[in-house]
């Protein structure tokens, strides 16, 4: 049974992603929308964390190695209480802690600077090892982009992870999730540099691999359960996702990797995310003040 609460949160986060990117006028909607169900499940169904104590030593860690999708991370962090949701619209603005890519020093709750692709997995190995050495029960979740794993450093880390810390401190506290949305900046992944057979590659490097639908909240939760139950080695989850998921004109289109919607496009995107047919939109907005406020705000941007 899908968790209705998580579905609602993921939907609200999608709306906020569109909102903040439109205010910013730049950013990466496609990969933010593909990863948001994974992040929602982690932040609201999984993590042991305390937004009031972002430096709690035994917190679970999330490293968003595909740092360009950080708008998605900001939405779940805001909703968790790391900072007020009103701050989301400061994304990419001068002086905002919501940098265009994650900045650990600017925003408590960000675990590592990422966005220069290929580096988050190595940092996650270090985090997982450090926690193991300290006898902490905390877990580390690292989210990789599919295009990202074309970076060589990922494979250095992939080769090391099942071996590092053995035998006393195996990194079974590490779960790596691939947001496999099949599109990178320039084009479809298979047209730039095909990753297949991606499962076999990670298996050959010594990882147990679980393949799921990265938008199915039940499947995500189950995979995370399996990863947590696995002893002795870290787990790799291939989450098949749809780039731009939830917005018809963004889905599966490389053009929406790194382009912010215009206000009119954003309003249409929000309507689609909320599943409201066009004829009923005015009526919906009349009854939903929060959405109405967001739409009015975007319409005002359009007027500018």
């Amino acid at each position: 049974m899908a968790d209705a609460r998580l579905e609602t949160i993921a939907r609200e986060c999608r709306v906020q992603i569109i909102r903040m990117l439109t205010h910013a006028g730049s950013g990466h909607p496609g990969g933010s929308l593909s990863v948001i169900d994974l992040l929602t499940t982690l932040y609201f169904g999984r993590l042991r964390h305390d937004p009031q104590r972002p430096d709690w030593p035994d917190r679970d860690r999330v490293v968003l190695s595909k740092g360009h999708a950080v708008p998605a991370l900001y939405t779940v962090m805001a909703k968790s209480g790391y900072f007020p949701e009103s701050r989301l619209v400061t994304l990419r603005k001068l002086g905002s802690p919501l940098q265009g890519h994650p900045d650990r020093t600017a925003l408590p709750g960000i675990e590592a600077a990422t966005g220069s692709l290929g580096q988050g997995l190595s940092v996650s190995l270090g985090l997982a090892l450090g926690l193991r050495l300290q006898g902490s029960a905390a877990r580390v979740y690292c989210i990789l982009g599919d295009g990202e794993i074309q970076e060589g450093q990922v494979w250095e880390a992939a080769m090391a992870a099942p071996k590092l810390g053995q035998p006393k401190h195996p990194l079974d506290n590490l779960c790596v999730i691939l947001d496999y949305n099949k599109i990178q900046l320039d084009n479809f992944v298979k047209k730039i540099l095909d990753l297949e057979p991606v499962l076999a590659k990670w298996q050959a490097f010594g990882w147990p691999v679980i393949e799921i639908d990265g938008h199915d909240l039940d499947q995500i939760a189950k995979a995370l359960d399996q990863a947590e139950a696995r002893k002795g080695v870290p787990t790799f989850v291939v989450a098949n996702t749809v780039k731009g998921k939830g917005v018809s004109f963004m889905e599966n289109d490389p053009e929406w990797h790194g382009k912010a919607p215009k206000p009119a496009e954003a309003i249409r995107a929000i309507r689609e995310i909320l599943g409201v047919p066009e004829p009923r939109w005015t009526e919906y907005l009349a009854k939903n003040a929060a959405t109405r406020a967001i739409v009015d705000e975007l319409a005002a941007l359009e007027a500018k």
Partner: protein, 308 residues
């Protein structure tokens, strides 16, 4: 004290500090015999990690360990550590991870292995990052103090160490401080600023210059970033001439740092001695002679610079 390589002094210091501080861990990339972390790894096998020939991964793992409160020393040849600059820039510097980066085998002085193993651009690269001190000790005493300092320093730091033995140059009561240089020999005619492997030769050069009636002040600049601006200005304000001596590319190293500061604050005649072009295979002494970093070469450059 007999001559000792700063990498060897580092290995000894690490073992000693590791006994008192269990936050200290090492991460190596298949060069632990050369970086001399082996003493530590034999004594504390559970705190020593060899990740294979994968320096980017080594740096990232170091960053992650640091973020859990460990004090990781990530060690390889200077060229291989700093060669992974993008990982240093992002996972160490920008992340503000408390990583102690150790680059050994700096300069042409490594000799026979040739250019591919010589750290010659590492100072220039690291110096461009806003939050990483660059420290190059000149002898065993200084190295041990620098390593102890690195453990206590909050934040990333880069230590540049030699393969070759270094003659003692610091007085027994010397105490290292970040951003503080040391006058090893006073003089009024020219300021010679050296660091690491070139300090001893610069002192020898000063003796030769003395015989010619040139009183050279010799400064040991262990801290290349931050440099000791106060001492620099005090010394060169008096001598009016400055020569930098380093086993590093002539661009962007100690000489570059000194030139940047003086160019803004106190422009004056300046000569940078260092490595021009690529390094090559050969014996250490021969290479120093070729690049003018031996006592005779340094003295000759200084005379020419002073028109004497």
């Amino acid at each position: 004290m007999p001559a000792k390589a700063s990498r060897a002094a580092f290995g000894e210091a690490l073992l000693e500090l590791g006994a008192r501080d269990d936050r200290i861990v090492t991460v190596d990339a298949d060069l632990s015999k050369s970086t001399m972390t082996t003493k530590f790894s034999k004594t504390y096998p559970e705190r020593a990690f060899n990740v294979g020939i994968a320096e980017s991964n080594m740096l990232g793992i170091g960053a992650g360990l640091a973020l859990t409160g460990k004090v990781p020393f990530v060690c390889s040849f200077a060229c291989f550590v700093v060669g992974r600059f993008e990982t240093i820039r992002m996972s160490v510097a920008y992340t503000q991870a408390n990583v102690k980066m150790v680059g050994t085998h700096c300069g042409v002085a490594i000799g026979e292995d040739g250019y591919s193993q010589m750290g010659l651009e590492d100072i220039a690269c690291i110096r461009a990052l806003p939050n990483i001190p660059v420290v190059q000790p000149a002898d065993e005493l200084e190295t041990k103090q620098v390593v102890a300092y690195a453990v206590e320093h909050e934040g990333p730091i880069y230590l540049r160490l030699t393969r070759q033995n270094l003659e003692p140059v610091c007085p027994p009561d010397y105490r290292f401080e970040l951003g503080r240089w040391l006058v090893l020999r006073p003089g009024n005619d020219v300021t010679l600023i050296a660091s690491g492997g070139t300090v001893f030769n610069t002192l020898e050069a000063a003796k030769r210059l003395d015989a010619d009636g040139i009183a050279a002040e010799v400064i040991n600049a262990a801290c290349i970033k931050p440099l000791d601006e106060e001492l620099l200005l005090r010394s060169v304000g008096r001598t009016g001439h400055v020569v930098t001596v380093e086993d590093h590319s002539i661009s962007g190293g100690l000489g570059g740092a000194v030139a940047e500061t003086l160019g803004e604050v106190m422009p004056m005649p300046l000569k940078r001695l260092g490595v021009q072009g690529f390094g090559e295979s050969g014996d250490s002494k021969g290479l120093y002679a070729k690049h003018g970093l031996d006592p005779a070469g340094i003295a000759s450059s200084v005379r020419k610079f002073l028109n004497r």
